[in-house]
């Protein structure tokens, strides 16, 4: 089992030695049992660091902020940022490296192995507790989580409240790291796309009504986009004005910009948005499940990305986030790529 004290020790060391400018990790939230992202600048703050099954966030998303901030600074601190990553999150780092969005020496990776479990799903936890408030959730022996509520401590088999993505995990420890906590025990799911089957097996019209019902709920808060480490475009198809506006941008360029998607949360517009996102994440999504977790309307967005992940694997034998040197899915091809669908 991962001992959080080991992580703290390393965090203090790298901060004291000035190896990193700050560390992105997890701390306890102020309103419940869940963790929240922590930005640790001094060794005194390291005390706040935690590691437990509530550490769901994919913190690599904050590397995008870091890059933008650095670009604005006149004399940026060039030291790396320390970042705590799980196996899935480390795949995000590999994609960011592959796309040259970040350099390897921009990050000091404190990898944590999820060993044989993973992180929890807050909604499943709440159901399990019948709406009772959890005060603390900890890793326990034998693939159990220990949950503390006002009534005391109970043990729950991890699988009952694990996040869906953890049940289909393809990388339970970070392959890329500067220091690793926990054991490199394999817990790879042999059926990583199993959950998709329940939608794939529906008839075409049932699939349509499923997605229509789901995407009609969308309120276009763009939390799915905002939380995604791969959604780092300066300009997004749904935004209303040009972002890359400079003094040289002409009025015509601004005026001629195509409005692909209306702001209205209509079926047609929501579909374009989510389809574009899905296709743009094809071969890049590493299934951290953050888009689905943050969705306030409970849209099962993970399935859209998961479907693309599965097709990339089955059609092109392509896996995202394992090899920083491989070309991206849609900027490469093989002679034998399938073409039976082409007339």
């Amino acid at each position: 089992m991962v001992n959080v004290e080991d992580i703290k020790k390393e965090a203090i060391r790298i901060l004291k030695e000035g190896k990193v400018k700050y560390i992105i990790g997890y701390k306890k939230s102020t309103n419940g049992s869940m963790s929240v992202p922590a930005f640790i600048e001094s060794s005194e703050d390291v005390e706040n660091l935690i590691w437990d099954p509530t550490c769901v966030y994919n913190l690599t998303r904050f590397l995008v902020d870091e890059k933008r901030r650095k670009a604005r600074e006149k004399n940026p601190d060039e030291r790396p940022v320390g970042i705590i990553v799980k196996g899935c999150d480390s795949r995000a780092i590999i994609v960011l490296l592959q796309e040259k969005f970040i350099n390897r020496d921009d990050v000091y990776i404190l990898g944590i192995s999820c060993e044989t479990t993973g992180v929890l799903d807050e909604k499943k936890l709440s159901k399990k507790l019948n709406g009772k408030k959890a005060e603390k959730v900890e890793y326990d022996e034998k693939n159990n989580f220990a949950i503390t509520t006002a009534d005391g401590k109970i043990k729950v088999p991890a699988d009952e409240i694990l996040a869906e993505r953890c049940l289909e995990c393809r990388a339970n420890f970070p392959a890329i790291n500067d220091v690793l906590f926990g054991e490199k025990v394999e817990r790879k799911s042999d059926k990583p796309f199993e959950s998709l089957e329940k939608i794939e097996s529906l008839s075409k019209e049932k699939r349509w009504s499923f997605w229509k019902e789901q995407l009609d709920k969308c309120i276009r808060c763009y939390a799915c986009r905002s939380v995604c480490p791969m959604c780092y475009c300066d300009e997004c198809v749904v935004d209303t004005i040009n972002f890359a506006v400079t003094a040289d941008t002409t009025a015509e360029e601004k005026a001629q910009r195509i409005k692909w998607v209306e702001k209205s949360p209509a079926t047609s517009e929501n579909f374009v948005y989510h389809l574009v996102r899905a296709i743009h994440l094809a071969g890049r999504c590493i299934d951290c499940g953050e888009c689905e977790r943050v969705c306030p309307m409970d849209i099962p967005l993970r399935f859209l990305n998961k479907k693309m992940e599965k097709e990339a694997k089955e059609l092109f034998d392509y896996d995202a986030g394992f090899d920083p040197d491989q070309p991206s899915l849609v900027s490469c091809f093989k002679d034998e790529d399938p073409e039976d669908f082409i007339r």
Partner: protein, 140 residues
Amino acid sequence: MTDEFEPRIVAFLCKWCSSAGSDLAGVSRMEYPSNVLPITVMCSGSVSPLYIFSAFNKGADGVLVSGCHPGDCHYLKGNYYARRRIALVKKLLEFIGLESQRFQMSWVSAAEGKKYTQVIKDFVKEIKPLGPQTKLRRNQ
């Protein structure tokens, strides 16, 4: 006289092959349905998935992407990239429940005027029974 449904097909045709192929069909006076709104693009590899989604969003009943045969791309590799990308778009559209017949891809060379007319004929024939595409269409 009954108003038979005539599907509208947006066809993204590569300038070097498929667009020339459609021209050949035209100048050779080959007969084919007039349901196509052709959009000439530089290469099938330059067709962004966004164009495809947007065509459906703006009311297309079918979308065709057509490029040069493998090995014939003016830019050497564009159609190979297209093949990958279109395969993914096709899977995605099927996954959300759009009729798979509504989105197709073809290889049509500049000399294949006849093939072009056949592709269009088949396309129209296949999607006519489906009726108008309303799933992704913007409600005006």
